[in-house]
Amino acid sequence: MTLVRQTSPHARSPNSTQQIMKWVLLAAVPGLAMQTVFFGWGTLINLVWCILIAVGSEALVLKIRQRPISFYLTDGSAIVTAVLLALALPPLSPWWLTLIGISFAIIIGKQLYGGLGNNPFNPAMLGYVLLLISFPQEMTQWLPPVGAAGHTAVKSFSEALFTIFPLFGHPINIDAISMATPLDIVRENTSLTMKELWSENPAFQYFAGRGWLWINLAYLLGGLFLLYKRVFSWHAPMGMLAALLVMSTLFWGGAGSGSHGSPLFHLFSGATMLGAFFIITDPVSSATSNKGRLIFGAGTGILVYVIRTWGGYPDGVAFATLLMNMAAPMIDYYTQPRTYGHKKPNKGLPEQH
């Protein structure tokens, strides 16, 4: 009889890429639930649509590249990308917007670089940024959250469905009901003090945006679960949140009309927690060493605040992530750990002989 011949180790941990992806999806459930609660069925419909397109386009490219389709599809990475993009899109984005975004993310952002593991950029953020630049109007049409005036307009499932897919029914006029996100409002605000803003504008509640606070808390919960499961280390999220905290404290500007918003407002508004625990922890496009990840996260946090406060877009997580993705290889070169038996860690590129 023939005996198996292979290289050591012969024992393997039960860990697998699929398992990691499953945990990530599971951890995203609370956030998804909160988003559905506050913004209606749109997010859920978008999500399903997005997954369909993602899996479809991934299969298409794999077919063209003549790779075994089921082997690569089952790693679940396309679904994770789809979920992350769907969560980042406005709830009632039209179907074609999602189609363009996710197919761009999968086909160009991931597969054209060689598939999972070879993409230098976070594919979901690449798709998001493409849409943000190409369709700025559609991308900023966020609905008023539950509790704010106008939310009742899209309460039913069918309304949401027909708004996303207008071919099958009568869409609601989204322009009439959409409103700016809290981050946008604070950025644009020049006249009202923070106190006035919070008391007068229905988009705000407690110390952050209405609904956004709970959504962020839900993502935080999911992130902590992933940390517990050791899907990723604490370095990147911690770096980002700490940097954001420091930046927003330094440039707070008090409670007057010139304020940029409190640190808590920044931590619990927009896509902060989604970014910190689900976006920048994408291992493929981030730095590799723990120290590198800390720097990577911190850089993202700083950029997020800079873009939010002085940039041209209401939120900066996507841009900040992509910019830091570009810096990741260099961070890697300068943050190698000190190897056992070496006095100093290696830095930079190897010396050319």
Binding site: V4, T7, P9, R12, T339, Y340, G341, H342, P350
Partner: protein, 832 residues
């Protein structure tokens, strides 16, 4: 957590005695699977049918067998000795007979074969004489180290590094560490050893401490072996040296048992990259090695057995066995109750760092601590590797704080610079990264392959560098030789010019200058004469009778004539003009004449053997073997005659010059020149005679063989050219074909000639002396002919090479070859 690396010099002082453990960087917690094999005590196995003992059971150069097939050896007898500093001998594990020294399957990840000594036990298990040392403390440490080396002890933990090498450190050792960690899953050999032979371990530790004069000894054990810890603590407490030995217990984590990792855990120090533990003043030995040292010193027993764990789900009776080295795995597996149907993977060593075996016929060697007979469910085949998602789990598991996934990417793209930059060579191949990898990437294989490739490339580069240096040396040597030749030539030319100038001057100044060159010429001639006669002529002359002299002169004259004619013939043949037929007829006639004369001379010489033998005792070689070697004698005679002729000529010329004065200097010069030529040829032939003799006296048909080989080669070459020509579609094909046929014919002739000559030679030895002379003469003729044929053939070939369609030259060459072949045929006829 990374601990700061202390300076080596700083660490030379012994760290504080307080027993404390440091945490391991990285590491994993794989399923231990140790209970299966610890429930029963160590058992022995019945004697196998045969023992296969690889010569390379350790790290370093393989041992060298000192027994032959068929030898009977005793238990404990050395059967292969160490071949260097980093090498250990092999001993017979039982008494029996050496049945083979051959290439057998060895336990190696390559699954290759290597030299092994196969021993068939005789069942008596008879020990050889043992020399135990009762009081090791009174023995010099260096003697003990030598004893340990000769006992064949190599590290028993798995790496198999010769123990004696570690015990002869470059710097003083303050801490001895005994490694009882056994962090790999499944393996319990050391665990059971510590439980059952704690006393031997402690004694071994004391001996090692005596050897190394270290101040303390730490025995490191993971906390998952409470029984072993208990046993060792008890043994230490009973020991007289117990205060120096500490049993240190630390948390279980893979790979704590790596040498570097254990040092980190027990001392908090890191072995600097590229250095050895001894540079820190630390020596690490496996507990099994300590037992082997104890056996070697206290009982005089060499390393001939070891404890091996037999485990895995395919075994019904897992446990630890005391195994004779060389026992085939099949024997052990059946002793442990193997279920062949369930067996899917056979692993030697642990599941983390061990390797799979191809079959059950490999033997257990000094490093084999475990055999795992795994089922498919236990060790499922590796999943196809998925893409690396840079999750970083490998970096967290790495005990050396490397970046495994970066190494993986660089290994995949074969970027060796980057691999070295990322400290690939600090990887200990523990497999923790592969274990945790969610994408099932065989990371360790990537590292091993890259390391091998880098090492191979460095070796290639070193070799290329050496070749370059050798090449350059050769070039300079050739240039120097060329320059020397050039200088000599120049000097000669200058001397000639100076002579000419002097001559011119002398002709101008008449009387005053005349005597000088003439005098010089006379002196030169005289000197040469003296030299020539002392080396060759004189003694022979003095001892030869008048008859012989006469004969010899005739003979030499005839030979000279023959030579001249033959030269003329060759020239004619080369030019392809002149009366070749007549010349060759002359040659054969002259040859016959020479042969006749030779025979006569020989008969005369034999009739007066004493006259020849007497001086031969005084003079050197040539004449000493004169009786036995006619050819040498003949040659020498020819040469002496030639020298004499030359001398005469020179003398005559000299006389003429003296008589006629300066007006005839030209003639003198010519004569001297000629004389010089003759002298040169004489020396050359002398050399030939000297060097050629042994070959001649050995066997003539050997020469024939050589010629035959050469003819064969020529035929081959001709055939090759033929095919080439055919490919090119050249017109030469026909003539080439002829040539090939010619060559083949010649070869056949030679082949048929060889045995007949050999027959003749054998016949000659039994017959009377003169007959033999004749035969050897014939043989000589045959040889000459053959040589000529060969030369002609070569020429033909050269002509062919140069020809490129020059059919004329080709045809000439062909005719030549034919003539030669005919001659060879004649010779053959003469010989037979």
């Amino acid at each position: 957590m990374n601990l700061p690396l202390r300076d080596i010099t700083e660490s030379r002082h012994m760290p504080e005695v307080k027993v404390r453990v440091w945490p391991l960087t990285g590491g994993i917690h794989p399923e231990e699977n140790k209970r299966q094999s610890t429930s029963v005590p160590i058992k022995s196995v019945p004697m196998p049918d045969k023992l296969i003992l690889p010569l390379s059971q350790h790290a370093g150069s393989p041992a060298e067998p000192i027994v032959a097939v068929g030898d009977r050896v005793l238990k404990g007898q050395m059967i292969a000795r160490a071949t260097g500093f980093v090498s250990v001998p092999v001993h017979a594990p039982t008494s029996g007979t050496v049945s083979a020294i051959s290439s057998e399957a060895i336990p190696h990840p390559s699954g290759m074969h290597d030299e092994c000594i196969t021993l068939i036990p005789d069942g008596k298990d008879q020990w050889c004489q043992l020399q135990p040392i009762n009081d090791y403390k009174s023995v010099e440490p260096s003697t003990l180290v030598e004893l340990i080396r000769q006992s064949g002890i190599a590290g028993m933990g798995g790496a198999g590094f010769p123990a004696a090498v570690k015990l002869s450190p470059r710097s003083p050792i303050h801490t001895l560490i005994l490694n009882g960690t056994e962090c790999e899953p499944y393996i319990t050999a050391d665990d059971m050893l510590m439980r059952e032979r704690a006393d031997s371990i402690v004694t071994g530790a004391e001996i090692l401490q005596h050897l190394l004069t270290s101040e303390r000894c730490l025995i490191g054990i993971e906390d998952n072996k409470p029984e072993a810890i208990e046993a060792l603590k008890k043994a230490v407490a009973q020991s007289s040296n117990g205060h120096q030995i500490k049993v240190v217990v630390f948390p279980t984590k893979y790979p704590s048992g790596g040498e570097k990792q254990l040092i980190q855990i027990l001392t908090g120090l890191e072995v600097p990259s590229g250095k050895l533990p001894s540079d820190l003043g630390i020596a690490v030995q496996n507990v099994g090695t300590a037992v082997a040292v104890c056996d070697a010193v206290q009982h005089g027993k060499p390393l001939i057995s070891r404890i091996t764990t037999m485990t895995g789900e395919a075994l019904s009776k897992p446990g630890n066995l005391e195994v004779l080295l060389g026992t085939p795995a099949r024997h052990l597996l059946s002793a442990a109750g193997i279920n062949d149907r369930q067996l899917d993977a056979l692993i030697m060593g642990g599941p983390m760092m061990g390797f799979t075996l191809n079959g059950q016929d490999v033997p257990v060697i000094k490093t084999s601590n475990c055999l795992i007979a795994g089922t498919r469910g236990e060790f499922p085949p590796a999943m196809p590797a998925q893409a690396c998602i840079r999750c970083g789990m490998c970096a967290e598991a790495c005990p050396s704080s490397l970046l495994p996934q970066q190494l993986y990417w660089h290994a995949k793209s074969e970027n060796h610079e980057q691999l070295k930059h990322h400290n690939l060579f600090d990887c200990i191949e523990c497999g923790a990264c592969s274990y945790v990898c969610p994408s099932s990437i065989p990371l360790v294989q990537y590292y091993r392959a890259s390391k091998g490739e880098i090492r191979a490339q460095e070796a290639r580069h070193a070799k290329a560098e050496r070749s370059r240096v050798r090449y350059e040396h050769r070039q300079t040597r050739l240039e120097r030789e060329q320059a020397e030749k050039e200088a000599k030539r120049k000097a000669n030319a200058e001397r000639a010019a100076r002579l000419k100038a002097e001559k011119a001057a002398s002709s101008n100044k008449e009387s005053s200058a005349v005597p000088d060159p003439v005098q010089a010429a006379i002196e030169r001639a005289k000197a040469k004469k003296v030299a020539a006669s002392t080396t060759t002529n004189k003694p022979a002359k003095t001892t030869l009778s008048a008859d012989q002299k006469e004969l010899r002169i005739q003979l030499s004259l005839a030979s000279a004539q023959l030579k001249k004619t033959r030269r003329a013939l060759t020239q004619a043949q080369e030019k392809g003009e002149g009366d070749i037929d007549k010349l060759s007829a002359d040659v054969s006639m002259l040859e016959a004449q020479v042969a006749k004369l030779q025979k006569e001379f020989e008969t005369a010489a034999v009739s007066e053997p004493s006259a020849i033998e007497q001086p031969s005792a005084i003079r050197q070689q040539p004449r000493a073997e004169k009786n036995l070697d006619n050819e040498a004698a003949k040659k020498l005679k020819i040469e002496s005659a030639m020298a004499k002729a030359a001398l005469k000529k020179a003398e005559r010329a000299l006389a003429t010059a003296l008589e006629e004065g300066s007006s005839e200097t030209e003639a003198l010069r010519d004569a001297v020149e000629e004389y010089r030529q003759k002298a040169d040829s004489l020396t050359k032939e002398l050399v030939d005679a000297n060097t050629g003799k042994p070959a001649k006296s050995s066997a003539d048909d050997k020469k024939l063989k050589v010629e035959q080989a050469m003819a064969k080669a020529a035929l081959k070459k001709a055939e090759r050219e033929m095919t080439k020509a055919q490919e090119l579609g050249s017109d030469d094909t026909l003539s080439l074909q002829d040539k090939i046929d010619e060559c083949r014919k010649k070869l056949e002739q030679l082949e048929s000639g060889k045995p007949s000559v050999a027959d003749n030679a054998t016949g000659a030895t039994s017959s009377s002396y003169p007959v033999k002379t004749e035969t050897s003469d014939d043989l000589k003729k045959l040889k000459i002919e053959n040589a000529m044929a060969r030369a002609a053939l070569k020429k033909a070939q050269r002509a062919l090479d140069n020809a490129e369609g020059d059919t004329q030259a080709l045809e000439a060459a062909l005719t030549k070859a034919q003539t030669k072949a005919a001659e060879a045929e004649n010779a053959l006829a003469a010989a037979s």
